[in-house]
Symmetry: C4
Subunit: 207 residues, 4 copies
């Protein structure tokens, strides 16, 4: 499926990965070298963070170019398949972020049994591309955590096909995957998820 | 009604908008490009943030000059009517901020049914212009959220006429509007609301 | 009563006031121009923040020299009597900070009826001068808030005489007064109170 | 027992101590001059923070070289024995941090009676060296607080021998000790503990 997003040079894709990583790092959303980030170059390639890097201080040498449908890159993060499967499935995606925010970790674990977290009535839902009113019901899929990321990626794609358009999903007790057409959209979606999930958690805990 | 605040040059009004926006951006009160800010120039005009800008990094080109009683400016934020209606109704207002703090969003949603949030007994109430003792009861109006901002602005003004003097109001599940005679006053009022609403939320949740 | 702390030049006392104010400002402990700070110069004089200043960006021109037992300085903060009465009563005090932290405001309001907040068993109690073990019971006085600060200062001194040695006291729904022999001690005591009161609040709320 | 970690020059060990201290200071994990840090030089010596230093602004002159099995250094922190006993007992340890995070203080006090804090099911457990899956059960020992640190260190080592491999332990109402083969590992472990303990505390409080 041809990509619907503008093709990037490798250099600009790498710069986009670094911009997302530093942004998340400053906010403490990638603790203890967790998290990973990617930007699509074209239909076949994406720039992805290498394994083990400190995302808050990411450098160009810690970003690799991975083949979307190709064999695993030697220095790819263990979670690279979760990025590449998204680019393969949805040509409208240009950038992906995986972050470990506290409310994402807590809510995904609390609602794992239901398989979904319902977001509803918050004005900031309008920050997600395509949402035009706060009177929106958004069901964010939650998948169980597992260490076989090839298998996990396949499971995620099945769940997302059922779910219809969403800006991200949760892995139980683990964190959040979020994307957008551009790096700017992906950053806005990270901020929106952070705000809404923090509000959800606070509201649930007060009940 | 002639404005009671000192007239600003366009340049100083724009600088005031940027000062408020950056101040709020540093504190994460305008997540995901939300929020907007304005400064009155005179009886007829105000400087207002344009639609879609990242408020934490706002530039001069992202501030427009809008006519208070005139037709909608092409690049005006969707929420510009909520600013302009305030300038039209109250000549003592010189600067307005719309922010999305977490406690404003949560408390406005929780108390939406009552239509009001009562603030009482906090020393910091004295930070609001005109309040001279902590033994003050301040009823902050809460209006339901809606996407037709012309209609919302008209509704807000009816509620504020009934309410008597207040330094701001809440939109349910959405955020806070706050104002002052000057940019400095509006910033002090933002800080006071942030502190008092955070305290209120914590006190309510502990009950 | 002769002061037991080293006498300061006016310049170094002013520098100490600014150091405490900026320190507290960076941590958002003086929201909306609240809070005030002082450093003793000698038996007769102290440097104190002037009224209305933004403490996070305090400048030398916003610090005045006040006579400890003299008439009110024209530009003194309304809360200056609460500083000066302490210097008059206790010659071992060299620096005083008044801050509005969230847990100080909440706990002082919650326990106002008891007139005291008991702190017990925290290792960080050892940060207070004179405390050598976590097995300490520290009863921090809480006084009701009032706007007549001369009267409030007199009431506070009566309560402190009864209480015996403590590093600070709370005003209900208002904030914290804290002191030390030096600016360094007062800053360490601010940090210790902030940590312990945050812990207390969290522990109480979980019960 | 010969050390299994690479020997450090004194200068690089001191630089490692300062790096850990500043890192923790920026995050407010060492309030009111609390906390201390060390890096092993070789089998016999370690660089350790001196008593009373402000860790957020630590300088080279505030780091001493202590003999692991030798007599107490004149300027050693009161808690130096808790560092040195660890280096003596476990040759794989190259760096140790003692920090006072809020959730470490609260959870250690809450679960002191059980003597252990169980961590289970969090993806971020994988940030600890040797942990390869979130399906791990990690029992972090909690020891009672006491001011005789020689005695406390002996007690800790008995508990750790029983516990088997763990990346740290808690002292009730006091804080966390955490270590790693290198400074980088110790910093990653601090971050992982901070995240997981914050999540644990929030999850427990919501029950």
């Amino acid at each position: 499926m041809p990509s619907a997003t503008a093709p990037h040079s490798e250099a600009s894709a790498v710069a986009g990965v670094i911009a997302m990583a530093r942004y998340a790092g400053e906010r403490h959303w990638v603790p203890a070298t967790s998290g990973n980030f990617s930007v699509r170059i074209d239909d076949r390639f994406a720039a992805v963070t290498a394994t083990g890097a400190d995302k808050a201080n990411l450098t160009e040498g810690e970003v690799i170019v991975a083949e979307i449908a190709g064999p695993k890159h030697a220095r790819a993060s263990a979670e690279a398949p979760l990025h590449l499967a998204r680019y393969a499935a949805d040509p409208s995606i240009g950038a992906i972020a995986h972050i470990h925010t506290l409310p994402a970790t807590l809510l995904s674990r609390r609602h794992a049994g239901k398989g979904v977290l319902r977001l509803e009535g918050w004005e900031l839902l309008k920050a997600f591309t395509g949402v035009t009113t706060h009177e929106t019901v958004l069901d964010i899929p939650i998948v169980p955590n597992e260490q076989d990321t090839e298998h996990l990626a396949a499971h995620v794609e099945i769940r997302l096909k059922e779910a219809g358009p969403v800006p991200g999903y949760l892995i139980a007790g683990h964190g959040l995957y979020v994307w957008g057409a551009t790096v700017k959209d992906a950053i806005r979606h990270m901020e929106a998820f952070d705000f809404i999930l923090t509000a959800e958690l606070s509201e649930e805990n007060a009940k």
